[in-house]
Symmetry: C2
Subunit: 139 residues, 2 copies
């Protein structure tokens, strides 16, 4: 694409066949204009989950670095802007009905999670006699 043309996304087809078996990328943003993004490392390990709006998705594709939309701060953010833990995009995929993204990244730094851990998924749900509790997988 030329540097001055902004990437935009076409409206999703109402045809299930086109959506699922076509080659047109028509991401299905939700009623808040957001789409969920699963982020994995190049090794496939799930690191985090966040949301993108159309602008974050456009910037992710154009710059090759993952951008998201923060629902709590109501603003666009580039992952790693302050922490240095930038996510370089290696591959971007979408699912059958194009309402979720899968972003495979190379993590520049140690941590994708704001707690300082590599992955946000550091606790396992364990069922016991008294109900369920979390057990740390990574300290």
């Amino acid at each position: 694409m030329s540097a001055d043309s902004k990437l935009s996304f076409a409206k999703p087809s109402t045809s299930k066949a086109e959506l699922e078996e076509g080659t047109a990328f028509t991401p299905r943003f939700d009623e808040h204009g957001l789409i969920g993004a699963i982020v994995t490392g190049a090794d496939g390990v799930v690191l985090m989950f966040a949301f993108m709006n159309a602008e974050a998705l456009r910037l992710t594709i154009e710059t090759g670095e993952a951008h998201f939309y923060s629902r709590s701060r109501k603003s666009l953010w580039k992952k790693g802007e302050t922490s240095g833990n930038v996510l370089r995009v290696r591959e971007l995929l979408t699912d059958c009905d194009q309402d979720i993204l899968l972003v495979k990244v190379e993590l520049q730094g140690e941590a994708a999670c704001h707690t300082g851990r590599r992955s946000c998924f550091y606790r396992r749900v364990e069922a016991g006699a008294d109900g369920v509790a979390l057990e740390f997988v990574t300290k």
Copy 2:
């Protein structure tokens, strides 16, 4: 747990520290009573993404087989009930702020995707001179 006591989930703590560093499992369902679930194979490959309500999550934990909530059909469903592609749960994790689940499963059958493919993520987003398009990773 005894067979006649139904598992329920406590209200999320308003303390960020408890939510992120505690051992109480207090899933944060959204305004529709749903929580997103990333499903991976035992090998870590991302297979699908779907939503659970409290009942689907309870059944998933109690039966060891993944249950979800269909937003389009507005009903609970057990994955594989008709297709036979049941997902046996090997590990269930949650993220730092407990608003997403990661379900590691053993897939009974060939396909987690309703299209017949193993994974729902069978198309890659490729940027070209004319914008973006999807390219099949799995036919």
